[in-house]
C-alpha cells in the first residue's frame, strides 16, 4: 500500500473543490480549522468561511440559521465536541427541522493519539445514529471521503461524517462510487463476514490477507454508510458466510457499527455477530499505532478474533 492520507485532509481538499462548483456552500469551524482542514476552504473562499471561535453550540445553531436561509452548510470541529458539547443543538435545531447541515468532524476515535481520552470520542457514532433524520457516514480512505463530500452536498438533509486525524492507506480507485445506504463487498470468502468502517477497513483487509495465507477465505464488507444501513447486502453476505459476522470499528462496541449490524441481523434470526471495537472504556495518550495495538485493533488481533469464530 503506497499512498497514505488522513480522511480529514481529503475532506479539506474536497471542500475546496465543492466550493468552486457550488456558491451555496458555506463552512463553519470552531477554532480548529487547521486541524479539521477547513483552513483550505477558508483560504480559498474567505467570504464563505466563518470561524465561530471556541463555541461549538453557537456554531451548530448558526449553521442551522444558514441552512434556514438556503445554504448548504458544512460545520467542523473535533468529533468529541461536535457531537458531545453540541449534541442537543444538533438534535433540536438541525436534525428535528431536518436542515441541510453536514457535520464533518475530525479527530474521531482513539487515533487522535497523544491528546488522550478527553479528545478521543468512542461514542459519537452511537450518539449521532440515535438521532432521527440524521445520516451517519464513516469513510474508509481519502478517495471515499472525497466521494462522500460530493455526494452529501446533493442530499438535502443533516449528515454526520466521521473523519480521522491519522493517515491511512488509499484503498479505493478514483472511480469509487459512494452512495448513502450502500455498502461494497471488497472480498468474498465463506468462512466469515468482516464488516468494517473507517480506518479499520484497511486493517480488516490486511487481516483477510493474513487469513488467506492460512487457507481461510473471508468476506470483507465496507460499511461506510452506517445510517442508513445497507441491510440487504449485509444479510446476503452474512448468509453467504453461514451466519458468522465480525464487525470492526474504532469506536465503542456499544451503539456503533457493531450494534447497527447486530440489531439488523438479530431481527432476521440465527446469526452470530462478534463486535470488535473499544470495550466500554476510555482511550488514553499514546501514538495512534500504539493505541490501536493496545486496544487490540490491529490486523493480527483481528486475525486472532476471526480464528476464534471460525
Amino acid at each position: 500500500m503506497s499512498e497514505k492520507i488522513a480522511t480529514r485532509d481529503a475532506y479539506g481538499r474536497a471542500l475546496v473543490e465543492l466550493g468552486k462548483k457550488r456558491q451555496d456552500v458555506v463552512v463553519l469551524d470552531a477554532d480548529l480549522s487547521c486541524s479539521t482542514k477547513t483552513i483550505h476552504f477558508a483560504k480559498a473562499y474567505p467570504e464563505r468561511f466563518f470561524n465561530m471561535g471556541v463555541a461549538e453550540q453557537d456554531m451548530m445553531g448558526t449553521a442551522a440559521g444558514f441552512a434556514l436561509a438556503g445554504k448548504t452548510v458544512f460545520a467542523s470541529s473535533f468529533a468529541m465536541f461536535a457531537t458531545g458539547r453540541a449534541f442537543e443543538i444538533v438534535r433540536n435545531s438541525i436534525a428535528y427541522p431536518k436542515l441541510n447541515v453536514k457535520i464533518c468532524a475530525s479527530h474521531a476515535g482513539l487515533t487522535v493519539g497523544e491528546d488522550g481520552a478527553s479528545h478521543q470520542t468512542v461514542e459519537d457514532i452511537a450518539i449521532m445514529r440515535a438521532i432521527p433524520n440524521m445520516s451517519v457516514i464513516v469513510p474508509a480512505d481519502g478517495v471515499e471521503t472525497a466521494k462522500v463530500i460530493e455526494s452529501i452536498a446533493d442530499y438535502p438533509g443533516p449528515v454526520y461524517v466521521r473523519l480521522s486525524r491519522a493517515a491511512s492507506p488509499i484503498l479505493f480507485p478514483q472511480d469509487h462510487l459512494f452512495q448513502l445506504g450502500r455498502s461494497q463487498v471488497l472480498r468474498e470468502g465463506k468462512a466469515l463476514a468482516i464488516v468494517a468502517c473507517g480506518l479499520m477497513l484497511s486493517y480488516a483487509m490486511e487481516a483477510a490477507e493474513l487469513l488467506k495465507q492460512q487457507g481461510i477465505e473471508v468476506s470483507v464488507l465496507n460499511m461506510a454508510s452506517i445510517k442508513p444501513l445497507d441491510e440487504k447486502t449485509l444479510k446476503e453476505v452474512a448468509d453467504y458466510c453461514g451466519g458468522k459476522v465480525m464487525t470492526v470499528e474504532e469506536h465503542s462496541i456499544m451503539g456503533g457499527l457493531g450494534s447497527a449490524v447486530a440489531e439488523v441481523l438479530a431481527e432476521y434470526g440465527a446469526y452470530q455477530v462478534h463486535r470488535v471495537g473499544v470495550r466500554d472504556e476510555f482511550g488514553q495518550s499514546g501514538k495512534a499505532s500504539d493505541l490501536l495495538e493496545h486496544y487490540q485493533l490491529t490486523p493480527h488481533h483481528l486475525v486472532k478474533q476471526a480464528q476464534s469464530l471460525i
Binding site: V26, M52, G61, T62, A64, G65, L68, S93
Partner: protein, 275 residues
C-alpha cells in the same frame, strides 16, 4: 402585509389575541399561559407593525425572519400567525393534539409561518445570527428578529451567540428580550439573577433600549429604532408583566406553565371583554 400604524388598533388586536390564546390553552388543557399573555403586545407589534412578511407568500425569500427562542410561549405566536392569515383560526383548537402542526413547542412549518423548531432554550439567538450572516453574504436586506426571555438568559449558549452578533456587527439582527422576572421555579432574582442585562448586552457589542413591553407606543418606537442599521445588533429589553391583562394571573410564577381552568377562563374572558 401593510403595517398597521394606529397603536389603538394594535392594542385591540392584542386584546383579541389574548382571548384567543386563553381559549386555546383552556381547550388544550395544558401549556404556558403567563409568558404568552405578557408578550402579546410585543408579538402584535412585530407581526402587524414592524415585520415585512406576507402570509400569502410564506416562502418569500426577502421576508423578515422571526425565531421564537423561548418556544414554550408559542401560543402567542400561533394566535398571531392565525390572525395574520397563515392558517385557519380553527386550527388553534388542535393545539398540542396528536397530528396537529401546532405542537407544544414550535415545529418548523414555513407555510404556516413557523420559521423554526424551538423549545430548548438558548438556541434561537445563534439561529438568528446564521440567518443574518447568510443575508449579509447574499446582500439581502431582510431583518432577522429573535425573541428571548429572562430565564433563557441563564443559558450559556445565548451569550456565545450574543458575542457572535456583537463581534460581527450584525445590524440586520434584532433581539427582543421579554424580561418578566419570572421563570418556572419562581422569581428570576431568587434563582439566578440575570441582571444587569443592559450592561451585559452592551458589553457584548449590542445597542440596547429598555422599554415597558406592555406599552404599545413604546414598543413601536423601539422597533422603529431597532430597524435603523447602525453597525451593531439591537436588543430591545422589554419589561413585561407575566400574565398581563388578567388580574388573577399577573406576576404569579404559578401561571408560567399552566393552562386556565374553567373558572379562571371565565374570569379572564370577563376581564378581557371576551364574553
Amino acid at each position: 402585509m401593510q403595517p398597521i400604524q394606529d397603536p389603538e388598533k394594535l392594542k385591540e388586536i392584542a386584546r383579541l389575541l389574548r382571548i384567543d390564546c386563553l381559549k386555546m390553552l383552556h381547550q388544550a388543557g395544558c401549556g404556558h399561559t403567563g409568558g404568552p399573555l405578557g408578550m402579546m403586545d410585543l408579538m402584535v407589534a412585530l407581526y402587524f407593525y414592524a415585520m415585512r412578511h406576507d402570509p400569502k407568500n410564506p416562502h418569500w425569500e426577502d421576508r423578515d425572519r422571526f425565531i421564537l427562542a423561548n418556544g414554550h410561549t408559542c401560543p402567542a405566536l400561533y394566535v398571531v400567525l392565525a390572525y395574520a392569515g397563515y392558517f385557519p383560526k380553527e386550527e388553534l383548537q388542535h393545539l398540542r393534539q396528536l397530528g396537529s402542526p401546532l405542537q407544544g413547542h414550535p415545529k418548523r412549518k414555513v407555510e404556516w409561518g413557523i420559521e423554526m423548531s424551538t423549545g430548548s432554550l438558548g438556541q434561537g439567538m445563534s439561529i438568528g445570527n446564521g440567518l443574518a450572516m447568510a443575508a449579509r453574504l447574499d446582500a439581502r436586506d431582510f431583518i432577522t428578529y429573535s425573541f428571548h426571555s429572562d430565564g433563557e438568559a441563564q443559558e450559556g449558549m445565548l451569550w456565545e451567540a450574543a458575542m457572535t452578533a456583537g463581534y460581527r456587527g450584525l445590524d440586520n439582527r434584532i433581539g427582543i428580550l421579554d424580561d418578566n422576572g419570572i421563570q418556572i421555579d419562581g422569581y428570576n432574582k431568587d434563582i439566578k439573577d440575570v441582571s444587569p442585562l443592559k450592561e451585559k448586552f452592551e458589553a457584548f457589542g449590542w445597542l440596547t433600549r429598555s422599554i415597558d413591553g406592555n406599552d404599545m407606543e413604546a414598543i413601536m418606537a423601539a422597533l422603529d429604532w431597532a430597524r435603523l442599521r447602525e453597525g451593531k445588533p439591537k436588543m430591545i429589553l422589554a419589561k413585561t408583566i407575566l400574565g398581563k391583562g388578567v388580574s388573577i394571573f399577573e406576576n404569579l410564577p404559578k401561571y408560567h406553565g399552566v393552562a386556565p381552568n374553567d373558572e379562571e377562563l371565565a374570569i379572564a374572558l370577563k376581564e378581557l371583554g371576551g364574553l
